[in-house]
């Protein structure tokens, strides 16, 4: 019979290597050591997770207005966060003017959203990105600071909370990247004087702790300036943070520059491009693409470092939370405050790192393994 010559249909794989049981055998219990490790990890989770869940969710207090409302439950007192929420977001920004901050944030979201949509053509994205980098800060500054178009003036000393954290981080990122690129180019320059200056600058800022830099910029700077000359405290903190991170950025970008083969520069020269043109059109686009993870890591570090302005008395998210935990009416809720602050910082940093991984994958034009 014809059928008898056909190969026997494949047998199903043994039950022990497919399905959840097979997966567990392969991934959890492949060897005695792994069995022990799995058991240990499972035990740790078994002990820790119920506690955590009880504290954060099941035994927590969500409604109420005073600390007395939290007495009944053994878990977290999220009322503390709810009562102070506005303060954590805006700091001392006058309540009547907070709509301005909201509008600025809305503008940012509307402006940035197309950048994340794949169907938007690239040239549009570039234009949008550039205008976000150049025009948006001015618009946001006018909105925050006021004093123009009939908006009441709000002193920078009243900016606070997450708003201030985002302002410092945003300005820091926008300024540190170009400065870092220039420094990296300077460090790779063939002119000895420029190279020495850049190396000294970079090594100096990388070698000192940020808090001494901030201390200097916040209370000592006028000593180095002519009598009577001074500028805004926030601006000085911004300059301190920017210079500090620019030095780190420079090292990241240098890594990218070193990875570009010399042939690229020679080819650019052969085409008659000058130094700046060959850098801007040939070398930097390739180099920066290579070091996107490093750049984003520097951004993340910068975002986390904004919390150090606490030490010079600016009321960023961190300081606002810390301050609220010392409020006599709300003593004893440090954990809730820190957990909340940690969650906010974590959300921003984690999304940045995820976005960079995504970008890295999409920009990867080489061979995939």
């Amino acid at each position: 019979m014809a059928e008898s010559r056909l190969p026997h249909p494949d047998l199903p794989p043994p039950a022990s290597i497919i399905g959840p049981w097979g997966w567990m055998r392969r991934n959890l219990f492949s060897s005695p050591l792994n069995i022990a490790l799995t058991a240990l990890a499972a035990y740790l989770l078994w002990v820790a997770v119920p506690h955590l869940l009880n504290w954060t969710l099941f035994n927590a207090t969500w409604s109420g207005d005073t600390r007395a409302d939290c007495q009944a439950n053994s878990g977290a007192c999220w009322v503390f966060i709810r009562v102070h929420f506005e303060q954590f977001m805006y700091g001392f920004y006058p309540e009547a003017q907070r709509w301005r901050v909201n509008i600025a944030v809305l503008l940012l979201i509307l402006g940035a959203a197309p950048l994340f949509i794949r169907t938007v053509p690239n040239p549009v994205k570039v234009k949008l990105g550039l205008s976000l980098l150049v025009v948006y800060p001015m618009v946001a500054f006018v909105l925050f600071k006021g004093g123009l178009f009939g908006l009441p003036n709000v002193e920078t000393s009243r900016w606070g909370g997450l708003l201030l954290t985002l302002v410092i981080a945003g300005v820091g990122m926008a300024a540190a990247l170009p400065l870092g690129v220039l420094l990296a180019l300077g460090r790779r320059s063939k002119m000895p004087a420029i190279q020495t200056l850049c190396v000294t600058f970079i090594e100096f800022w990388r070698g000192v702790p940020l808090i001494t830099v901030l201390f200097m910029s916040s209370v000592m700077l006028p000593l180095f300036l002519p009598e009577g000359m001074n500028f805004d405290k926030l601006l000085r903190a911004l300059i301190g943070v920017t210079l500090f991170q620019a030095a780190y950025m420079a090292e990241v970008v240098r890594g990218g520059l070193q990875a570009i083969p010399k042939g690229q520069i020679e080819a650019a020269a052969a085409l008659g491009l000058g130094y700046w043109k060959s850098m801007a059109l040939i070398v930097l686009p390739q180099a920066l693409k290579l070091v996107i993870p490093g750049i984003v890591n520097t951004f993340i570090a910068l975002f986390k470092d904004t919390s150090l302005v606490l030490i010079i008395g600016l009321f960023d998210l961190m300081n606002t939370v810390h301050n609220a935990t010392t409020n006599p009416d709300w003593l004893g809720f440090s954990t809730e405050g820190y957990v909340f602050a940690a969650a906010v910082y974590w959300l921003f940093c984690f999304s940045m790192s995820r976005y960079s991984q995504n970008l890295e994958k999409r920009l990867h034009t080489g061979h995939k393994r």
Binding site: A42, L45, A193, E203, G207, P209, T212, K304, Y338, Y345
Partner: protein, 393 residues
Amino acid sequence: MTELSSAPVKPPFWNNPQVRAIIFQAVALLATVAFGLYLFENTQDNLRRLGIASGFGFLSSPAGFDIIQTLIPYSAASSYGQVFWVALLNTLLVSALGIIFATLLGFIIGVARLSKNWLIAKLALAYIETFRNVPLLLQIFFWYFAVLRAAPAPRQSLSLGDTFFLNIRGLYLPAPQFQPGFGWVLATLGVVIVIVVVLTRWARRRQMATGQPFPILSTALALLIGLPLITFWLAGSPLHWQVPELRGFNFQGGLVIIPEMASLLLALSIYTAAFIAEIVRAGIQAVSHGQTEASFSLGLNSGMTLRLIILPQALRVIIPPMTNQYLNLTKNSSLAAAIGYPDLVSSFAGTTLNQTGQAIECIAITMAVYLTISLLISFVMNWYNRRVALVER
């Protein structure tokens, strides 16, 4: 009629790249020097106008305040110069311990991240993503104000066999007290170290020549522990332990790890370990899988493969970014000021600066110290890096 010249027009000198480079550099240098001078002049003027004393004479005047943790003899009668050394040692202590703990923890987590065990790998991932995305200062506050504050009062201390005590004032450990004969033990230890070094060299040479391995690790350990122990016993056990005991307000005697240092150390180690873990993972992944296969085919077991094949290659990738993490940890230890650990920034650039009013001098010294430390660490690491670097033909 215009006459066409056949010779190319000589470009004007300002288009000559060499001339341009010189002019450009001269301008940059001049601008930097001028800016520096400008700041210097302003500072001089300001100091003179305000009548603020300057100079480093203050370093020899008595400090007049006490410090909670001093590794070298110090009292309120000591000088500001002594404050500097105390503070510097405190910074170095917490940085060195932090580097050790962070490296150990980081290696464990990094290897766990690559584990074939799904649960372990995910736990390691969760650890990394949690701790590296939260500001260090927040973590320090968390450990200090939220966790260590939950420790009991001195009278309700948790104790382990009435020898170790944990309370809100710190972790109290017995302190070793060396009796006169202890020098012999140290001397033996020194001799043994020399023997081990010689033995290692001989073993390596023999292996190179004959291919026969020598169990150097176990021999060395036996020597290192055994011989000093014998001397210790012969010298009549010249070591006593001073156990802390509760007297008055606090435990007296013994060693104490103050909570300020404990929380700083915890936060620094846990935070930096998350970065080190990622570096270790990347380093191990950078070694191609073919190396492992080749090693297995040569008959090496998985432990030897890791130790002899993978790690030496991975270390080349790991060391440069690791250096940066060590530097960061050292600089981050300056956040001590936020919780009252007496480090350089807190005791010297803080208290001393304030008691003397010598802001510029104190900050300059502090920055110089950090710069020196960071240059030293990068120097040592560069040297090591060059040693392990791939030697190409």
